[in-house]
């Protein structure tokens, strides 16, 4: 309940934050909404010597549209994404995903950037961000770079972010008219994290699946794109049989998590069933 002592800094600009990060290196942690970090600190599972609170950094909040792309500031809260008219109109799966995270109080405070950077293997955002093929803007002392979501999640709780970098923006291309999405999740009943969460982004041409992206969280150490499912369905008719056959591949080639809440076999089953249902949901 009581964290270890730390030095606290509240920079107001990205540059200031980066300078602090360079100065304190591995000893420092970035504090965004705090809803992953503070619980870990209270249990003393995490004991950073320095906390860099970026809440007061200008320009990292909110959603805007520019050239067919939604630009989401890293400090945008789950609640803001859930309730934003722009998001609900342009990329409703983002709002839908946000609404599945934690509870109201957590969504009020937790941020998309914080969640993605923390990379919990059962967090919701990674599935959807992968399915939307988002770009992530990262700044560091060496400058700015943009990487694909598919290159972002590396290992358990480990991302492509270097120690001196901060995720600043998430870029999501506004999908075409004939594209629909669906995020479907089975909650671990205690924590609310995903036992399995499946995000599907589907582009239809008539009854044919023109393009499909499936992001899955909760099933493996690292959230992943179910590429076997995608290739099994792309270019085919969206019949119940085709969808079911493709969804059977949802856990192919994946190292599946096992814990007291769900066995490996059960998670594998959930991945398939939820993938099928999410595709059906997106296709209907």
């Amino acid at each position: 309940m009581i964290a270890s002592s730390f030095e606290y800094f509240a920079p107001t600009s990205v540059d200031e934050a980066l300078a602090l990060l360079s100065e304190h290196g591995d000893d420092a942690k970035i504090l965004a909404g705090g809803h992953s970090l503070i619980p870990a600190m209270k249990l003393r599972l995490a004991e950073p010597a320095v906390l860099i609170d970026i809440q007061r950094v200008e320009g990292l909040k909110g959603v805007s549209e520019s050239d067919g792309t939604l630009v989401i500031g890293a400090l945008t809260t789950h609640h803001e994404l859930e309730s934003s008219n722009l998001v609900n109109q342009k990329v409703p799966i983002l709002a839908q995903t946000a609404g599945e995270i934690g509870d109201v109080q957590v969504r009020n405070k937790g941020t998309i950037g914080g969640s993605l950077s923390h990379a919990d293997p059962a967090a919701d955002w990674p599935a959807t961000i992968l399915a939307l093929d988002a770009d992530l803007k990262i700044v560091g002392s060496g400058g700015e770079r943009v990487i694909k979501a598919t290159d972002f999640f590396e290992e358990l709780y480990t991302t492509a972010l270097e120690a001196d970098e901060i995720l600043t923006e998430v870029h999501v291309a506004v999908p075409a008219e004939n594209t629909t999405g669906s995020y479907l999740k089975l909650h671990q009943v205690a924590s609310g994290f995903a036992l399995t969460g499946v995000a599907v982004v589907l582009t239809k041409s008539g009854d044919i699946c023109e393009n499909i992206a499936v992001g899955i969280t909760g099933v493996s150490d690292v959230p992943y794109r179910a590429s076997e499912v995608e290739s099994a369905l792309a270019g085919r008719a969206l019949t119940a049989d085709n969808i079911a056959a493709a969804a059977e591949k949802a856990a192919d080639g994946v190292d599946i998590l096992e814990d007291i809440h769900a066995s490996e076999a059960y998670r594998s089953n959930l991945a398939k069933v939820y993938t099928r249902r999410a595709i059906e949901g997106a296709a209907s």
Partner: protein, 778 residues
């Protein structure tokens, strides 16, 4: 009774709670809200091991931390703080020494080893990380079946095995009944370990005044009087100088019906340091070291005839005590043993109850305490028998209920059910759900490949904990009624409510009896300095025993008032009526004296009838003649998703008979909360230890208590069969919902999955477990 009460205005009415204004504004005081000047903060270092010898404890670095006042270990308090007591008296019971801080050996994860006192709770926490403990790990005893095998590690050197006690029963002729049975059904049940998790954690604040020699302890407890007595014994202080206050208590569910090491250590530290000392439990501590509930493995056989008559029951009950006995640990499974027949007349019963030590936290009273286990066993067995006979789950129950005119009914287990009409409550439940059409709907859905299930649990339970012969530490309750000089009424009760609402229901009882406004009555509880004697609130006893004590004390004072009023009115006391704040001769309300005038007269004491002493106060100790036996019928409707194992709970109907009802609003609240906790056991909750005795469900991240989205709307109904064992005719309702709901839900899910050939499923029925059961059946 000489005097007449006015028309009953409040008993039976849904009066809103008088407790609530302070609570909804955040203005009440739980232990942690009480701030005394110069308070020191205590925190405990706890064992990471389930079973280990302590080689050394190095506290030096912690002691040197700025702000740390004191660090103590088990050896520092040996001989100064007594062993944590167990009140159970069971023949042959092994009672191990239970030091407040471990000495030499630890026996469960979370066992306290050292206490740190600091000027600031943050510093106290920092100090914990500076204490070095060296352990020699020992094999941990975790599995109940394995613990009683001859090759098991034995937890106590002084005992031969891990068996804490055995209790046999052989009533009737069980062997003959099984020999003559048309069918025998057998099943092993696991009644999983639960963690109570009241939302307010435990907490203690103790202050010692050396001049006066008085120790005052504020504790989040259900039993302040027991705590007072036991603390005086543990610390060797005169009992009269120890005062325990249970301030606002944020839920207990049995978990605070106890005396814990932390209470003893904090009180001891206060006497030594001569400053107030406070400890507030962290949730993670609550998970490991506040008592757990249930944890039985039961092997059961039932003999039935072709017509559905149950002729015999045979069972071996393994009950997990954990590593030490807490206050009532061994008693809890005895309630299972006593209530094995449930709502059915079963003449032949053979039982073997075995209490088993393991390297886990102690079990003890958790809402329902032994009866949910019994009800689970009998209600599941009845369904299994019906399934085997091809009989409807409804019919087999009617077949085996006793008739209403058979009560009081002595059962084969030795208890006597006070009153009952099981047919009435069950019929009401069946009518409410329209049972026949439900079965038709189920058949229709099965045709569509959908798995709907109807679950029934009819139950009888034991509560109203008393008489004293059946309750460790006493089964009576005490109440004092005092009418102040101004005519305001003070009630002092020995019960110690922590959410049950007796400040309201008890005031209803008194207001009706005196014909005065409820606003003129104050109910004081939870303070041994103000109400000198009492037992406490547990086992759905507060109204059945404490309310009974109250009504009698109320009437005793009323008789005296009537004498004084009769003297004032020059009338006969027998003719007086108490109504609307006045006392008058029946039929002559115009020539009345006010209730307040009579109170003033009693205290001014210059115009009293001869032989009448001044003052208006009476104390009554009520000793009930028997327990009470509430009953009822719960029905639930579920649909199971066979692909994922998810359960959709669509409807839950509860018909409970708790005797007379004082306040239906409070009764519904108790039933709702009870069902939610039973539902938690059925669907979500379960303490999981690994093979080394590590608790894997040590936080709300892994241990699920039901959330608002995870429970349905409950439909509650009642029938009323008064109890003959107390003057209010009440039975108690705090646990009924918990007792009936878990078997009701398991029966529903098993019913839904019966097309797969599934006959039983363990709790909690998580999606994974349900899905796995379907896989295994296919």
């Amino acid at each position: 009774m000489a005097t007449m009460a006015g028309p009953s205005r409040l008993i039976g009415a849904p009066i809103k709670r008088r407790e609530d204004p302070r609570l909804v504004q955040g203005l009440s005081h739980y232990v942690d809200d009480i701030k005394l000047v110069n308070t020191l903060h205590c925190t405990f270092l706890r064992s990471d091991y389930a079973h280990a010898d302590i080689k050394s404890i190095d506290t030096e670095a912690a002691e040197n931390l700025s702000g740390v006042v004191k660090v103590i270990t088990g050896s520092d308090i040996a001989g100064k703080v007594g062993s944590i007591p167990c009140a159970a008296e069971i023949e042959g019971l092994k009672v191990p020494d239970h030091p407040a801080l471990a000495v030499g050996r630890v026996r469960f994860v979370g066992e306290p080893i050292a206490a740190v006192v600091a000027t600031d709770p943050y510093v106290a926490r920092d100090a914990l990380d500076l204490i070095e403990v060296e352990y020699d790990e020992l094999p941990a005893v975790v599995d109940l079946d394995a613990a009683i095998e001859s090759d098991s590690t034995v937890i106590y050197d002084e005992f031969d095995d891990n068996i804490a006690f055995t209790m046999p029963l052989d009533a009737g002729d069980v062997d003959a009944a099984f020999a003559e049975a048309d069918h025998v059904v057998s099943q092993r049940f696991v009644n999983q370990r639960l963690i109570p998790n009241s939302i307010e954690p435990r907490g203690v604040l103790a202050e010692y005044l050396p001049g006066e020699g008085t120790l005052t302890v504020w504790s989040s407890t259900q039993v302040p009087h027991h705590l007072k007595t036991i603390l005086s014994l543990l610390l060797d202080l005169p009992e009269q100088l120890v005062r325990v206050i249970a301030p606002e208590v944020g839920g207990g569910f049995g978990s605070k019906l106890n005396v814990y090491p932390e209470e003893a250590v904090v009180a001891y530290l206060a006497t030594q340091l001569r400053k107030p000392v406070k400890w507030i439990e962290k949730r993670s501590e609550g998970f490991t070291t506040t008592i757990h509930g249930r944890d039985q493995v039961d092997y059961v056989d039932m003999a039935v005839k072709n017509d559905g008559t149950i002729t015999a029951l045979r069972a071996k009950l393994l009950a997990n005590m954990g590593a030490y006995h807490q206050l009532l640990t061994p008693i809890i499974p005895v309630l299972t043993y006593l209530m094995m027949p449930g709502a059915y007349k079963i003449p032949n019963i053979k039982l073997e109850l075995i209490g088993v030590f393991t390297n886990k936290m102690a079990t003890d009273a958790y809402r329902g305490a032994g009866r949910p286990e019994a009800t689970h066993i009998i209600e599941r067995m009845v369904d299994l028998a019906a399934q085997k006979l091809g009989m409807d789950a409804k019919e087999i129950r009617f077949k085996n209920f006793p008739q209403p005119d058979e009560f009081p009914l002595e059962m084969a287990t030795g208890v006597t059910y006070d009153s009952g009409n099981y047919q009435m409550s069950f019929n009401k439940a069946l009518d409410t759900v329209d049972y026949a059409s439900l079965r038709a709907r189920q058949a229709e859905l099965r045709g569509q490949g959908r798995y709907m299930g109807i679950g029934i649990a009819t139950y009888a339970e034991i509560c109203g904990m008393g008489p004293s012969v059946g309750v460790a530490g006493g089964g009576w309750e005490s109440s004092t009624v005092r009418i102040e000089r101004t005519g305001k009424v003070t009630v002092l009760t020995g019960v110690s409510p922590h959410g049950q609402g007796q400040e309201t229901s008890f005031a209803q009882i008194v207001a009706d009896e005196y014909g005065i406004s409820i606003d003129d009555i104050v109910i004081i509880h939870g303070d041994t300095g103000r109400q000198p004697q009492g037992i406490g609130t547990f086992g759905s006893r507060a109204t059945a025993v404490g309310g009974a004590a109250l009504i009698i004390a109320t009437q005793q004072v009323k008789e005296k008032m009537a004498q004084i009023a009769a003297h004032m009115l020059e009338a006969n006391a027998d003719d007086l009526v108490f109504e609307d704040g006045n006392i008058f001769v029946q039929g002559s309300p115009d020539s009345a004296v006010t209730f307040a005038d009579v109170a003033a007269t009693a205290h001014v004491a210059v115009n009293l009838p001869p032989e009448v002493e001044p003052g208006l106060e009476a104390t009554h100790f009520f000793e009930p003649s028997n327990f009470t036996y509430p009953f009822g019928a719960h029905i639930s409707i579920v649909e199971v998703d066979p692909e994922t194992g998810e359960i959709d709970l669509q409807r839950y109907v509860a018909v409970d008979d708790c005797g007379n009802i004082i306040n239906p609003l409070l009764v519904d609240g108790q039933v709702h909360g009870g069902i939610a906790q039973g539902l938690g056991q059925a669907m979500y909750e379960g303490a999981v230890y690994d093979e080394n005795g590590q608790l894997l469900t040590g936080s709300f991240m892994d241990y699920a208590i039901p959330k608002a989205t995870q429970v349905p709307r409950f439909e509650t109904e009642h029938t009323t069969t008064p109890s003959p064992v107390n003057p209010l005719g009440v039975k108690g309702v705090g646990e009924a919902g918990t007792i009936a709901s878990s078997p009701c839900l398991v029966n529903a899910v098993v019913d839904a999955l019966s097309p797969f050939g599934i006959t039983d499923i363990d709790m909690p029925m998580t999606p994974n477990r349900v899905w796995q059961a379907i896989q295994d059946a296919q």
